[in-house]
């Protein structure tokens, strides 16, 4: 995709030139460290389990994913549309998809960095004499980054659909909550259509797919494909939404 690299680099620079990204990065580091130590103490010093806990094994991680991608992506299209920067990008000789994918890659890179804090904790505890299962931590980190890519893509869809950043963030968070809650509800509900509904929701059950693979140290292609496919679908939707802005003017 022509221009993808240029847009990716510009968006990444844009993220880190604003204070929001640095503040969030700092808060994530504190948050992750807090839960790492909490779980480490609760599990009686079980290092690997604690590392996986903060990379998707536990609910605090998913709470972060509920909010952070929405905050980082909310301005990327809605605000640029207002300031005219989207007009600049969309009249450059690059495809709409390159614009959307470049932005998604930039946010995903931010999350890859944020989740890499777990490596820092791993190095620390290793220096203190614990044995770290690096394969397990790496797998969980890849999974965490893949899941972040998906939620960032969802955030971009919302930012492309709604006219103000705040509304976009709000709708992203609502969508994320639905994604968490629906499969849980379906599991709890045993109605006549429960069978079929359950099977449909299984297809979009992010948590189950995640916890079925990445936290156990197995880099299962089926689950990797699950996240990549849904991310691609969301990016496709976001591209279409950007395109529709051209038609609406």
């Amino acid at each position: 995709m022509k221009g993808l690299g240029a847009i990716f680099r510009r968006e990444l620079a844009g993220l880190f030139l604003a204070p929001l990204a640095w503040i969030l990065l700092f808060l994530v580091l504190l948050y992750q460290a807090y839960f790492f130590l909490l779980v480490l103490a609760a599990k009686g010093g079980e290092v690997n389990g604690s590392l996986v806990f903060i990379l998707g094994g536990g609910l605090p991680f998913w709470l972060l994913l509920l909010v952070l991608p929405a905050l980082l992506t909310m301005r990327m299209i809605s605000e640029e549309s207002r300031s005219g920067l989207l007009e600049f990008l969309l009249t450059s000789p690059v495809s709409d998809a390159a614009v959307v994918v470049g932005k998604a890659l930039a946010v995903t890179t931010f999350f890859a960095l944020a989740w890499a804090s777990a490596f820092l904790f791993a190095l620390l505890v290793q220096a203190l004499g614990a044995s770290v299962d690096w394969g397990l931590v790496l797998t969980a980190w890849i999974g965490a980054t893949l899941a972040s890519a998906f939620y960032s893509a969802l955030g971009l869809v919302s930012s492309a659909l709604f006219s103000t950043p705040l509304l976009a963030a709000f709708m992203t968070i609502l969508a994320n909550i639905a994604l968490y809650a629906l499969p849980m509800l379906a599991r709890a509900w045993r109605g006549p259509t429960g069978e079929l509904l359950g099977r449909v929701l299984e297809r979009v059950d992010v948590l189950a797919h995640y916890q079925g693979s990445f936290v156990s140290g197995a880099l299962d292609t089926a689950h990797v494909a699950f996240f990549l496919a849904w991310t691609a679908a969301a990016l496709f939707l976001a591209t279409r939404a950007v395109e529709s802005r051209r038609w609406l003017g």
């Binding site: 022509k2 221009g3 690299g5 240029a6 847009i7 680099r9 510009r10 620079a13 844009g14 030139l17 604003a18 300031s83 005219g84 920067l85 007009e87 600049f88 990008l89 969309l90 009249t91 450059s92 000789p93 690059v94 495809s95 051209r246 038609w247 609406l248 003017g249």
Partner: protein, 318 residues
């Protein structure tokens, strides 16, 4: 170079551009003139590939804006009215980004960034944050961004809006310079600007082309010159009738009194000043002014705006 045929663009029920057709040959400089909301920006947005047309075809250098959008966009440098720039970046970073978007190598981007900044007179602000620049400086940086790819066609939407008179003069001088080498399509609702820069003028009104031609053509076709005459009041009654009786005179309208003088506007065919002068001499009228008033683009524009405007005179040339 640019061919627009039966271009129509609707926004829901609202028709912003209505069946507009024109052609631009290579090297032509054209000014879009029209009141706000006449369809200037929409036409430009279709041309630059931002908005798809609702009907009609637009091609640039033989490439269709809808089917070969990327080819068209690669040939156009566009400065939107909002002058979009990343405020958190430095001037040179913005230009390098534009270079990379256009697929230029790193060294080429840097070389051209230096050249265009020199050209718009912003070389010494290359390392300034865009957010700290004044409106006029941002406008010039925007122009540099549009120029960086060395495009065949430069599309400038209200390039001097919001500038002070000095900055306006400067930007105009710059555009005149640029126009020597490439096609420039410029929009404005400010008349002197178009008069100063563009040999050819397209007047848009309510989404349609109201007039299209060189300034001289428009003035010749649509404008009408008249003779202005001011006489000492009360010199004689029936001045109007006597003026009308002169050969070639079609109408002589009294324009009211100003102090001790009475003004007339005389329209008709052929050379009128001379017979009017002789008449005044013969009657012994005291003349304060006898002059030929040539039509201006402004009077034509005002007439078009008013004629096509069924109700309001005030909102015509806002």
């Amino acid at each position: 170079m640019i061919s627009v045929q039966h271009l129509t663009r609707r926004f829901g029920p609202h028709v912003a551009v209505d069946d507009v057709s024109f052609r631009l040959e290579r090297g032509e400089v054209v000014g879009f003139l029209g009141p706000n909301g006449a369809g200037k920006t929409t036409t430009m947005r279709v041309l630059t590939g931002f908005l798809p047309p609702s009907a009609g075809t637009v091609s640039v250098d033989g490439f269709d804006v809808l089917r070969e959008s990327l080819e068209v966009r690669a040939r156009i440098g566009y400065l939107p009215e909002s002058v979009p720039l990343y405020r958190e970046h430095r001037v040179q970073e913005m230009l390098w980004f534009q270079g990379r978007l256009r697929g230029l190598s790193r060294s080429e981007s840097r070389r051209r960034a230096g050249v265009v900044l020199e050209r718009v007179g912003m070389a010494e602000r290359a390392r300034s944050l865009i957010g700290r620049l004044s409106k006029g400086q941002r406008q010039r940086v925007g122009l540099a961004v549009a120029l960086l790819p060395e495009p065949d066609v430069l599309v400038l939407d209200e390039p001097t809006s919001g500038l002070d008179p000095l900055q306006r003069l400067e930007v105009r001088r710059l555009i005149r310079e640029l126009a020597r080498e490439r096609n420039v399509l410029l929009s404005s609702h400010i008349l002197p600007e178009i008069e100063a820069v563009c040999p050819r003028v397209i007047i848009l009104h309510r989404g349609r082309i109201a007039a299209d031609g060189t300034q001289a053509e428009l003035v010749g076709q649509l404008g009408e010159s008249f003779v202005r005459l001011e006489l000492a009041a009360g010199a004689s009654t029936g001045v109007g009738a006597e003026l009308c009786a002169l050969p070639g005179v079609r109408a002589a309208d009294a324009r009211g009194r100003a102090g001790d003088f009475e003004a007339f506007e005389i329209r008709g065919e052929g050379e009128l000043c001379e017979p009017i002068g002789r008449l005044c001499q013969a009657r012994g009228w005291i003349v304060r002014e006898l002059s030929l008033q040539r039509p201006t683009l402004e009077s034509i524009f005002a007439r078009i705006a008013l004629e096509l405007e069924p109700h309001g005179r005030s909102e015509g040339a806002a």
